[in-house]
């Protein structure tokens, strides 16, 4: 068997980072762009080759493991830098490199006039390296390396325009909130190591059923801790607060990191550890509830936001909620399916929003847009595709995956979750079409200056939009419902999830059709309401807003969660720190340090007399010392 050379996939972006650092500005903008895009494109091709190799294997043997080198070996413990490709990571690696490549290309146009062009691609490539490491790792430790790496890059890229205070603050917030999640992940990892004696996936998963009793306290705690890590990285309740603020970063970053790839790491991790999670039904319950709650909660906030990127950010949080919902009800395949389709249409939405922002000279407020459909035809068309896709209208991608999640929830005995999901779908369709209408339809509310500079984006930005639009349409066709023996996507992932004995949702055909109908009706309802309120009768919308003013205010202020956290977490901590500073540090630590200093100063004032500065004197002392030493020896 020819080796698939997995290590090359993450190594390529890393090499690009190194080259970028070494060659510096000598590359020029063009060179930097080619280097960055070329590395990621090549990584995509290598990944594709590896996946083709993988697909040629018999179904039961579809795992490729490649040990690059042994990182450390301490007693029994051994950590390898080794990579694993199985159907699950194959999906992830293709999504990451493919969407990543498109976004890289897009960025060359979007960032073309930025002063820190080179730094941007440096971070972006570094992110690709970390993300690919995360996805391809074959043990928890290496995954954690990637996990932290993407966190770092996310921080760097959110604060990319560090001269804007808001960007710096947002970066800091993302970093700190993620730390809490990482803490959980780390603890979960420790527990796994303590009980299973290894961090290698294969060994842990093989050992888990024997070590942990079904539903035991240990495995529940461990998986809950892992899930805490996932909520941090994937922006779920209670740690979702950083993601909306992360929109301070450049829009391609929002598309790549905060929509398509990094934030899905939590879902990926859950799917990867499905063996463990299925041993802990309680945790799965928690996952499902939190997923559903986040889906609904974030969707409602999305209704009231006026910043185009924030709407998308809350939409991302909400859609991630759907994915966790799927995992929580045991439908990991559906979760990963939604992850993939979401990557396509959400990246497209962000990139389209970026195109709009680019066209309007950095205007992000929906209230100052409108009527752009004729001025930005390409952007409009692709955005429309994405909006329909996320709203869940067949045959667009979002429909298939969302429907699968909902029917799985229903079939696996979570009608409450199903209901929340359907309501969420209505709201999703509503706020997405609100965004679409406010942006592209109706009268133009542009400022005069923005109107003047209005222009369609360059080809390098349009091309990725078109490709992603195509993917948003056809991306779901790999998983049509009602297939005998599961659809193609499910069959592909079966080697991974088969061991977990996923409960087949054996619904009668009639029920299935009914569920499909319900979800289509929900989507259409949301769309219709949106059109009525914002396009046909704007005045009725205003009236409605006034009638439900408290609700509107609550959504606009995002349920005051940030303020709540500020009051119960941030302020007490700041107070404690302030006390520590004023008393402990200023008085005790400084006192001790200064005291040592004063003492030494006094002593050295005496000793300084010996330092004459003449080498001869030193030599004399030295020789005297030698003489004394010899005398000492002579006496014995």
């Amino acid at each position: 068997m020819t080796l698939p050379l997995l290590w090359i996939v993450p190594a390529l972006p890393l090499a690009a980072v190194a080259l970028n650092l070494l060659l510096g500005d000598r590359l020029g903008r063009r060179g930097t762009a080619w280097l960055a895009c070329g590395a990621v494109g090549a990584a995509f091709l290598f990944a594709l080759r590896a996946v083709v190799t993988l697909a040629s294997l018999p179904e039961s043997a579809r795992v490729l493991v490649e040990n690059a080198y042994t990182w450390m070996r301490v007693g029994e413990f051994r950590a390898d830098v080794s990579f694993m490709l199985d159907p699950l990571s194959a999906v992830m690696v293709l999504v990451v490199t493919g969407v990543g490549f498109l976004i890289h290309v897009y960025s060359t146009g979007y960032m073309a006039h930025d002063a820190s062009f080179r730094r941007f691609f440096l971070y972006l490539n570094l992110f690709m390296f970390a993300m690919l490491t995360l996805v391809l790792a074959d043990n928890f430790l290496l995954m954690f390396v990637g996990w932290e790496g993407v966190g770092l890059c996310s921080y760097l890229l959110i604060g990319f325009w560090y001269e804007r205070p808001a960007a710096g603050e947002a970066g800091k917030k993302a970093f700190v909130v993620n730390r809490i999640g990482d803490f959980g992940f780390l603890l979960g990892m420790f527990m796994l190591f303590a009980w299973c004696g290894s961090l290698n996936y294969e060994r842990v998963f093989a050992a888990a059923p024997h070590v942990f009793p079904l539903g035991g306290a240990v495995i529940t705690t461990a998986t809950l801790l892992l899930f805490l890590g996932a909520t941090g990285k994937s922006a779920q309740i209670p740690l979702y607060v950083w993601l909306p603020d992360a929109m301070e970063g450049p829009t391609p970053v929002s598309a790549l990191i905060h929509a398509a790839t990094m934030v899905t790491a939590g879902v990926y991790m859950l799917a990867r550890c499905h063996v463990l999670f299925q041993l802990a039904p309680t945790t799965l319950e928690v996952v499902a509830v939190i997923g559903a709650a986040t889906a609904l909660f974030a969707a409602t906030i999305g209704i009231a936001q006026n910043d185009i990127k924030r709407v998308l950010a809350y939409s991302t949080v909400s859609q991630l909620g759907y994915m966790f919902m799927a995992c929580g009800v045991g439908a990991f395949t559906a979760g990963i399916f939604h992850l993939m389709t979401h990557a396509f249409f959400k990246a497209l939405l962000f990139l389209g929003a970026g195109s709009v922002i680019h066209a309007l000279s950095d205007e992000q407020d929906l209230r100052r847009m409108g009527g752009l459909s004729s001025r930005l035809p390409w952007t409009h068309a692709t955005m429309l595709v994405a909006t329909i896709a996320i709203a869940g209208i067949p045959p667009f991608a979002g429909f298939f995956s969302k429907d699968e999640i909902l029917s799985a929830a229903f079939a696996n005995g979570h009608p409450g979750v199903w209901l929340v999901g359907v309501v969420g779908a209505v709201i999703t369709a509503f706020y997405m079409f609100r965004l679409y209408i406010l942006c592209f339809r109706g009268p133009s509310r542009l400022s005069h200056e923005a109107e003047h500079h209005l222009h369609e984006s360059p080809r390098s930005m349009i091309a990725p939009l078109v490709v992603l639009a195509a993917l948003s349409i056809v991306g779901g066709w790999v998983g049509p419902p009602m297939q005998e023996g599961g659809h193609a996507f499910e069959r592909w992932l079966r080697p991974v999830f088969a061991s977990g004995a996923e409960a087949p949702h054996a619904l009668p055909a009639g029920t299935e059709w009914a569920l499909i109908a319900v979800s289509i009706v929900a989507a259409v309802a949301g769309i219709v309401v949106a059109f009525r309120l914002y396009l046909q009768k704007p005045e009725s919308g205003t009236a409605l807003q006034e009638r439900f003013a408290p609700l509107q205010r609550m959504w606009l202020h995002k349920y005051w969660v940030d303020e709540f956290y500020d009051a119960i977490v941030v302020r007490p901590l700041a107070a404690l720190a302030g006390w520590c500073w004023r008393f402990w540090d200023s008085v005790i630590v400084d006192g001790a340090v200064n005291g040592v200093g004063y003492t030494l100063e006094g002593v050295s004032a005496l000793l300084r007399l010996f330092q004459t500065g003449f080498v001869g004197t030193y030599a004399l002392f030295f020789a005297l010392g030698v003489a004394a030493l010899l005398l000492h020896f002579l006496r014995h």
């Binding site: 001869g616 010899l630 002579l634």
Partner: protein, 185 residues
């Protein structure tokens, strides 16, 4: 005959070493030091260390001392001025302490390591001294040997950096020493 040669070389060595310390002209000191090194090389030969003896001449006499002479000539140093009460006192102190150290060293050596004539039977001068040194250098002492080469490299870089001064930022240095008045006695 070897002991006589040894004594001769030793006498030459001590005498020239003393001249190094005593003579006021640095060039003369340097030349006596060359002589001392050559006599030491002779002693090495007598002790059966041919390789070290030859390297002693090549490295010390052929390279290091030439460098010394270069610097002395470059700085155009003539006789050292050694006068004044303070200097005289320091000199006296130096002699006393130096003599003390020598005396102590001799006493110490006499007590510990003077067991009479060499206890070991004299091994015949095995012909492969160079070979033996080389084998030791390239097998057991390979790592130190490589480290030494790095040390030399570092020294080389250091000397070039020091020798260049601080480039354009260097303060206006003293006018270059007048080479033409070399050898003023």
């Amino acid at each position: 005959m070897t002991p006589f040669l040894f004594l001769g070389f030793a006498a030459l060595l001590v005498a020239s070493a003393l001249m190094v310390v005593i003579h006021r002209n640095p060039v003369t000191s340097a030349l006596f030091l060359v002589l001392a090194f050559c006599s030491l090389a002779g002693i090495y030969l007598l002790l059966g260390a041919e390789f070290v003896g030859m390297v002693q001449i090549i490295v010390y006499a052929g390279a290091i001392m030439v460098l010394f002479l270069f610097v002395i000539m470059y700085l155009n140093l003539s006789h050292d001025v050694e006068s004044g009460v303070q200097i005289a006192m320091r000199r006296a102190l130096g002699w006393v302490i130096g003599a003390l150290v020598v005396a102590e060293g001799l006493l110490l050596a006499g007590r510990r390591w003077f067991p009479g004539p060499d206890a070991h039977p004299i091994a015949p001068l095995h012909p492969g001294n160079t070979q033996a040194v080389g084998e030791a250098l390239y097998t057991r002492y390979l790592f130190p040997f490589e480290i030494t080469s790095i040390l030399l490299l570092v020294a080389m870089v250091g000397v070039i950096v020091i020798g260049r001064g601080r480039g354009a930022a260097a303060p206006p240095a003293a006018p270059p020493p007048d080479l033409t008045r070399g050898g003023g006695s």
